[in-house]
Amino acid sequence: MQIAIDTGGTFTDLVYLENGFLKSKKIFSTPKDPSQAILELLFQLPKQNIKTLIHGSTVGTNTFLERKGAKIAFITTSGFEDLLFIGRQARPKLYDFFVEKPRPIVLKENCLGVNERIGSKGEIIKSLDSSEIERILKRLKENPVESVAICLINSYLNSYHELKLKKEILQLGLPISISSEILPEFREFERASTTAINAYLVPIMSKYLENLRKKLPGINLYIQQSNGGWLTVEEASKFASHTILSGPAGGVSGAFIWAKALGKSKIITFDMGGTSTDVCLIDGRIPFTKEYNLDGFPLSLPVIEIHTVGAGGGSIAYIDVGGALKVGPESAGADPGPACYGKSLLPTVTDANLVLGRLLPDAFLGGIFELQKDRSFEAISSISQKLGLSLEETALGIIKVANINMGRALRRVSLERGHDPQDFALFCFGGAGGLHACSLAKELEIKEIIIPKLAGGFSAFGLLFSSPLKDFSQTVWIEAKEKEKLLKYIKELKNLAFSYMKGLGFELESLSYEIFLDMRYKGQGFELTIPYSEDYVSSFEQEHKRQFGYKATRFPIEIVTLRIRVKGDPSEDSWKIEKGKNFYPLSQTKVFTEKGWIEVPVIDWNTLRIGESFKGPALIVEEFTTVWVEEDFKVRVDENYTLRLFKL
């Protein structure tokens, strides 16, 4: 049997298939030792033969955010020892006398320069002498570190010196990350940062995975990566930087699979949690970016392109000095949580929803945790008094301001990239999204909302059906018209990729691949990633026109970087959602809207039949989520109890 476990900040989720039905389990995470929660979940499973576990983990991300990574040495071309401290020379905020740079991940004294130089055409200008290598080895023996990152200037064109250093330093028995293997692409700071992040995480990640594997004898363990696919424990230990964002990536893969089953290939995912909201636009394929920023440091690997904003159910509302109502980015988090959790009087988005009657105090988490509505009233009234508005108007205002923040994220991935949101369905998962989906859809003139009935554990669902995946890239700097050269480079990179995968134990017949070209008009600074096809030049021109509004016909086009993505077969098992147990009686409640208080039926999602349809307004409740269907939407219950909401 194949199972998937996603370790999140608050919950650890398990998803698996039993007789074709998707089953999920959820328990609180155990941040000190994440494997505890995993073992506990496995213990709850009926005794079965677990063959494969696909695991998404926050170990890498948390280690980095808390700066608890390994003590590393950073080796670079002499003259550039401060590369990681200078960065791009800019400060993160403009009008702020007290601005800070991101917290460093390496000590300055462990940044070591070596005398060598590769030129801008890959030629060796100054060769790397053995005396230099001796000096570095001596230094590393005297001042021991736990992991080493190497990034030499122009090594993306010629890796000879990096490989030579790696070979010698391996004698010391240290894990080594070299930039020409991690990211053979131009832009030294981005490459150095990515390499250093990797070195910083490798010892912690490999220890965690080794420990986990020991506790799970006989199970094939695979690790989810930020590109949406999984790889072996050995790979994840070596390329720990690839595991950042694996949870959100699982969610997006899950949405992609679920929507595909409904015949939808154009969706915008919307995952609203307690402190932040993730969105991602899928136009037939899951998009990736090379410009991810991890707490101030660029991580330039292909990462599923997820845009995050600091607005969620726990976002705190307040009034600023100029008299405007603000919501977030500060969040009450899970602890102390919104006022209605009973530990604080912080007025949050969740409290506003409670005041408006959109969240039912006795239907939260399946009714096991009753929300304290009176505390929400008290918290929101502290704001409404200052504004001179009624409690309900204030709560509605908080929702509107939170929506504008989330709407901005949706605009960023759609309109700003030249996509019309009207062509897409809003795919909503995560606990809090169902309360906001209708008004966000209206804001962006989106006509359809899809809500899967698996709010708890959607990331784990994505993991269960994802495939093995590995990205390979190489900066090539050629003109787009040099097709022969391009084909030669493609062949080389493809051979490299396939022999690498073979080395990992994959059957070559089970692998497929996609080629992408990072292209631009010669002279531009940003590349567009274009799927390779016969007429890749016109594909590029069309994409440029779509995103920026024009084609620059007189400019030559260049191919900067070549990418190959190698993919194995995903699990082919079919899946179905089981009808759940009823937990909430059919009833009426009052909800506050622009029109004032209105009567609304409360419907338990578990009582809905496939094929059924009805008109809003309605509150549809389930153990882990509530959907607020506004009156200008029609609901249709589709396959697997998926809710499809259509704008009337």
């Binding site: 401060d82 400060r91 009008y95 007290f98 700071f189 309109l415 400019f555």
Partner: protein, 514 residues
């Protein structure tokens, strides 16, 4: 309901300005625009008052209200127009900053103006990069007086062709103009969507509210200053031609909820290129007060912020230069010194909120020959701050451009970077140390002309409350065995194999060392 709408509309307007910036950056050709983000986008209302801006470069943004004020009465605005200018004496900054302005009409009503200003890699003139040590504006490059680039939808082909032939890299310029126009068009689409949704009267009403809101916030911080007069004087090293230093003097008077900022006792304009057009001075003042406002929280930047601030300059002085003075460095160097004088004065009124002097120069270097023109700036040390050390190796105050990756630069141009490092021990000592400057070392692989425009080579960035000053900057030429000290401002020819080393100043320390 006002409180709610303020936040919603502020968000909508600033999202438009941001999106204009994204379109420009991602499709532009000048390294200045695409890699270094040396550009700015803003929305003005029909009165020419600032509604929203994207946070890019402080020295541009503060100047744009002046640009708008100067240009608004010059034209009979029609739908489909785009005006182009780089005139420093008509609300501009320096010649490489080319500004495009587009009026936005809803039906027949003029409702908004969109502005995009970007630093082009070259606008002609005697030296590549158009950032030379000159004595007359016409030597610095092509002066484009405000004129039509597009008139009622018709591209002015003759004008463009005439302009492009005078520039070093016409194709790149054309690409950048395309990107700037694309950015304006994107802004127009978004404003039209807002208009359809809310209608013009509603938008006008909310814009007035937004301005009042920002004004209230600015007044709040000004109220906290003990009323009185605070003055300070600081000096530019020289004008690149004569030896003497050039004093800039400011007096700030706080009265009720207002600040009056008076520069009238500053030096007269000079022969060299350090003269600042009035718009640059306004930028520096706005930057300082907006940063002060930031200590209260984040507020929308619009015309309302500027209402409680009155600025007095005397035409013909170093802070309000008139035609035909040379101004290339006014924008990049003098602007920084104006900030230093303002901070010196404000530190007396707000001792807990004001940092010591930062490196005080953008360390401009322009390199080129008949085949290319390249320009970059180098960061330095930030001044120590009350409660925090200054940052090292970073751009401060009026600029925030990114560096060009060494690998991109070496791939594109006949230059090799040998060293790019923090300049240790250049920050001033103090209770909170000043940040360290940077060292950047260039080897030239072909004969080129080089212009350096730098400051704080003779005077040091000051410390406050007992902190020591930061170390001065140094410029060196290495030719064979010879090491030659270069002045702060110079045009020179370099040969293949020559090296230039720029060492940038550290920030001043804050407070006495214990």
């Amino acid at each position: 309901m006002k409180a709610i709408e303020l936040e919603i509309f502020n968000n909508l307007f600033s999202a438009i300005a941001d999106e204009m910036g994204i379109v420009l950056r991602r499709s532009a050709f000048s390294p200045n625009i695409r890699e270094r983000c040396d550009f700015s986008c803003a929305i003005f209302d029909e009165k020419g008052e600032l509604v929203a801006q994207a946070s890019h470069i402080p020295v541009h943004l503060g100047a744009m209200p002046e640009t708008m004020k100067s240009i608004l009465p010059l034209f009979e605005w029609k739908p489909g127009d785009v005006i182009i200018t780089n005139d420093p004496f008509c609300g501009g900054t320096h010649l490489p900053d080319i500004t495009l302005i587009k009026p936005i009409f809803f039906k027949n009503d003029l409702a908004f103006f969109l502005i995009v200003r970007a630093h082009h890699a070259d606008v002609g003139g005697k030296y590549a990069g158009s950032m030379a040590v000159a004595t007359h504006i016409e030597e610095e490059g092509i002066l484009i007086r405000p004129t039509y680039l597009i008139k009622e939808g018709k591209i002015q082909k003759d004008f463009i062709e005439n302009l492009l032939v005078k520039l070093r890299n016409p194709q790149e310029r054309e690409g950048d103009f395309n990107a700037q126009i694309a950015s304006l068009l994107r802004g127009e689409v978004r404003l039209n969507e807002m208009y359809k949704k809310y209608g013009l009267p509603k938008l006008k009403e909310i814009i007035d509210e937004l301005k009042n809101y920002s004004q209230r916030a600015m007044e709040k911080i000004l109220e906290e200053a003990p009323s009185g007069n605070y003055s300070f004087i600081d000096y530019l090293d020289d004008d690149g031609l004569e030896e003497e230093n050039i004093p800039i003097k400011v007096e700030i008077r706080f009265k009720e909820k207002k600040a009056i900022v008076d520069f009238s006792k500053s030096a007269s304009q000079v022969k060299g290129c350090v003269n600042a057009p009035k718009a640059v001075t306004y930028s520096a003042v706005y930057y300082v007060f907006l940063s002060l406002l930031n200590t209260l929280g984040e507020y929308p930047i619009n015309q309302g912020c500027f209402r409680p601030i009155e600025i007095i300059t005397k035409p013909g002085t170093i802070v309000s230069a008139t035609y035909p003075s040379a101004v290339a460095a006014g924008n990049v160097e003098t602007s920084q010194r104006i900030v230093d004088t303002l901070l010196g004065a404000l530190s007396q009124a707000f001792p807990d909120l004001i940092p010591s002097a930062s490196c005080g120069t953008m360390n401009n270097i322009a390199i080129g020959n008949e085949k290319f023109a390249y320009y970059e700036t180098i960061g330095g040390g930030m001044g120590g701050r009350p409660g925090k050390e200054g940052l090292s190796g970073v751009h401060t105050h009026m600029t925030n451009t990114l560096n060009t990756p060494v690998e991109a630069l070496e791939h594109d141009y006949p230059i090799r970077i040998e060293r790019y490092a923090i300049r240790e021990n250049s920050g001033g000592k103090g209770k909170y140390r000043g940040g360290n400057g940077l060292i950047r070392e260039y080897t030239f692989l072909e004969t080129c002309t080089v212009t350096i425009l730098s400051e704080r080579r003779k005077t040091s960035p000051y410390g406050l409350f007992g902190g020591e000053p930061g170390k001065k900057g140094e410029n060196l030429l290495i030719r064979g065995e010879n090491k030659i000290f270069l002045p702060g401002k110079i045009n020179l020819q370099v040969k293949k194999g020559d090296r230039i080393i720029i060492m940038t100043p550290g920030g001043g320390g804050w407070g006495k060392m214990e």
